[in-house]
Amino acid sequence: MEKKRKDFINSEIETILFLAERINEKNQLALARAITLIENNPELIFHIEEKYKDTLTKNSSHIVGFTGSPGAGKSTLTDAYVVKLRSEGKKVGIIAVDPSSPFTGGALLGDRIRMKRHFTDDNVFIRSMGSRGNVGGLNDAVFGVITLYKLYGFDYIIIETVGAGQSEVDIAYVADTVVLVLSPAAGDEIQLMKAGIMEIADIFVINKSDLEGAHILKVNLEMVLQFSESSKPIVLTVATSGKGIEELHREIENHKIKLKDTGEINERAKRRIKKHAEVIINKGIVEILSDQNLTDAVQVSEVVRDVIAKFCQKHSRVGEKS
């Protein structure tokens, strides 16, 4: 039994390394298959990180996150932004997350439907993901997928979160630039003063700005931003017509430059790695815990010590390819 499991793990490692080589050669079939493997076993990314350390550290893909409430226009805005990036010849990898059912685990992934015009463009890769139990607005595998996208060599990586309420803020740990998409008629200035999602934006977008209430929202937002002496930009857009996309692009570029000039870009990368590790540790420990057979009532401290010991033992072997 133990041997069988070991064989399975070894063949999975071989597969992911085989796929990684193809990804490096810009093979999309391999990229797609590798994402599936990573989604089902996030620790596989260790082997790619190790083998392609130089390529990955040299990579400078800019990671842009789009978040905001359901129906605010995140997918449509992503679509319009990609048109702009493509006009400059940039290669774009997209991760679009939609919620998984807490009851069945199923999901209807419908972000792609807004991005039809890019389906046959080989320089745009779109992957839809269910949130699979993650409550922060993403899927735990996004970190691994980012690594795969970097290996492929996309210039821009765009991550679209699930429709976010007030506290789905994980994108702040992932993206270099966070764009918060708001739309008119979503509440008064008190909503804008609340903690949580309003705090994580680097750029605010008021989409559907052709609708009534857009101007009032902008005035309210400006007022609230003044409290913190924030100079964060506000961009008015109409994603369906492309209005304001030039300006959004400009603001993202400005932010990118600012991150580099201040060295903040490294801080964000570190934050991302820390969160990635946190996700893998949590998942790994919880998995061991749920496999733990408690024959009779024992003390919590015993269980904790046991589980941690098993986790340590497992990870002391990672990378040795035994």
């Binding site: 599936t36 076993n41 998984s100 059912s101 199923g106 992934l109 439907i113 699979r132």
Partner: protein, 133 residues
């Protein structure tokens, strides 16, 4: 390791009747699958490329325009060309003779109007199970 079944539901061709596709997408979602819905008026090229990027286990085509023969042939050709091999299902208004032809062509299953969702779910689980083994 919870491998989820991923299905692409697409509507190739020019008809605008997507209720059937939506019902099936919803049914598969409720059966615990991840369903990628790409919407109306898709070309075979768009469908196959989307299926590749999403690494789906099954493709479901909903066709009510009568163009099923040529659309399915094209989809299968492209899958061959891109070296992407997964079962393809077809749902819609398909005359029995054509259904037979489609199965011969390499379509995995044809579902007509009134097919219970449970039957489609079962068939998807069945072919995916075979594919993995």
């Amino acid at each position: 390791m919870d491998k989820k079944i991923r299905v692409l539901i697409a509507k190739p061709g020019l008809d605008g009747h997507d209720r059937g596709a939506k019902v099936v997408a919803r049914g598969l979602r409720d059966a615990g699958m991840e369903v990628i819905y790409t919407g109306l008026r898709q070309t075979p090229e768009e469908i196959v490329k989307a299926a590749i990027q999403e690494d789906v286990d099954v493709i479901g085509l909903s066709i009510l325009s009568g163009a099923h023969m040529s659309i399915c042939r094209k989809v299968l050709e492209l899958m061959e060309q891109y070296n992407f091999h997964v079962p393809v299902f077809v749902g819609g208004i398909i005359p029995p003779d054509d259904a037979e032809q489609l199965l011969k062509m390499g379509i995995a299953a044809v579902f007509g109007p009134g097919t219970p969702i449970s039957e489609i779910v079962k068939k998807v689980q069945e072919v995916v199970g075979q594919g993995v083994a």
